[in-house]
């Protein structure tokens, strides 16, 4: 085992240390597998900075430290809109360890929380400083190291505006065949600034652009929902893995999108 672990009290110090190479470890639920089987080697950097575990209310939402765990989310009344998402990630032991920051970089088919954050229009705060960036940018280019300090999550317009659905084969705990998140704010009965995202439908969580185009400016009626379901798999080439073939993911995504939209109508 050729791993060296460095723990920094301040995240900024970990960020500086990472410039010299190394892998940042959050909760370790993904990385420790690699440490155990020897595929992760070299420097492992950690931080015990208390800011990583902080949940702060801001004007229009919340700032979650990158080290906030799924269990922390479930313990926060403010974050009730995210409870249906955190609750379906792993079992209780995984939820006590799995962090929000780690979820953004967890490989396919993981990333259910990232999928929800993408639909909500979250922004990420780099540990090295600088202005927050849209989560979309980070998810498009996950290979590049981006050490994150926090995630800014806008509050959904109202409880009805945000919906999440995860499809898994093993209940109550199982990894995703796919997950879908939708933020559908309404303005005078019309959908405005629609964001719909998928997990496990590509190499990383992604926006369902064709679906968003169909929904934008419409009312959420049966005809619109049917049109959205029709284009649900447009432009997507989901991976095949032991949970599901890419073909099956494409076949069923429209059915599940329809169910989610009907629930939100």
């Amino acid at each position: 085992m050729a791993v060296t672990v460095e723990t920094h009290g301040a995240l900024a110090d970990a960020a500086r240390a990472m410039a010299g190479g190394g892998t940042y470890m959050g909760g370790g639920t993904v990385l420790m597998r690699g440490v155990n089987d020897g595929s992760v080697q070299g420097r492992l950097l950690r931080s015990t900075d208390p800011a990583l575990r902080a949940i702060r209310a801001t004007g229009d939402g919340f700032t979650l430290g990158a080290g906030v765990t799924m269990a922390d989310v479930l313990a926060s009344r403010d974050l009730e809109f995210l409870h249906p998402v955190a609750r379906v990630i792993g079992g209780p032991q995984v939820r006590a360890m799995a962090t929000v920051g780690g979820n953004l970089f967890a490989p396919h088919p993981y990333g259910d929380f990232a999928t929800a954050l993408l639909a909500l229009g979250a922004r990420v705060v780099p540990a090295a400083g600088g202005s927050p960036r849209p989560l979309d940018d980070i998810l498009r280019d996950r290979a590049r190291p981006h050490l994150l300090a926090a995630i800014e999550v806008p509050r959904p317009r109202d409880a009805r505006a945000f919906g999440f659905l995860k499809v898994s084969r093993v209940k109550p705990k199982g990894v995703s065949v796919l997950s879908i998140a939708a933020h559908l704010p309404r303005d005078g009965g019309r959908l405005r600034n629609v964001r719909v995202s998928y997990g496990a439908m590509g190499p990383a969580p992604l926006r369902a652009v064709s679906v968003e185009q169909v929904l934008e400016g419409q009312s959420l009626d049966p005809a619109t929902i049917a049109r959205a379901a029709q284009v649900a798999a447009e432009g997507l080439d989901p991976p095949t893995d032991p949970i599901s073939s890419g073909w099956y993911r494409r076949e069923v995504v429209g059915v599940h999108l329809k169910r989610l939209l009907e629930r939100m109508a």
């Binding site: 085992m1 791993v3 060296t4 672990v5 723990t7 470890m25 370790g28 639920t29 420790m32 597998r33 440490v35 155990n36 089987d37 492992l44 950690r46 269990a71 792993g90 079992g91 209780p92 032991q93 995984v94 006590a96 360890m97 109550p172 705990k173």
Partner: protein
Amino acid sequence: MAMKPVTFTLNGLAKAAFTEDGQNLLDFLRRGVGDMAPKYGCGQGGCGACTVLLDGVPHLSCLTLAETVEGRRVDTASGLAGATISPLQEAFMDRFAAQCGYCTPGMLMAATALLAKNPRPNRDEVIEAISGNICRCTGYEPIIAAILDVAEGRVGA
């Protein structure tokens, strides 16, 4: 290989031992400290056989760096019995909730954490609490029944 000292509380007793860089808590407890209760099932987070409590909360010891328990409280199934076995262990025996027994230390710790937080869980809450633990023998029903026996005060009945 760098060795790091770790001091922590194991089942109520102060412990100090050295951990290797990158060593997981499961290996550290078994090889370094000699507590053989937590089991190695997968080393991947999937089975829950290695479940221990960290400050009262169930964690997967195979995915936890040993050095992160510095100053913390670790509880394993070795600490459940006093002069006699605990009511939860008794219920597991009464209900035949252990067949090969490999999952049992993890199941016991998941159930211990649940009952400490919620002494009267319902069936769904019990199922949720052990959803990170796999049992290949019992079909789960005897385990659920044993935990509900404790919750509903039927132990030894």
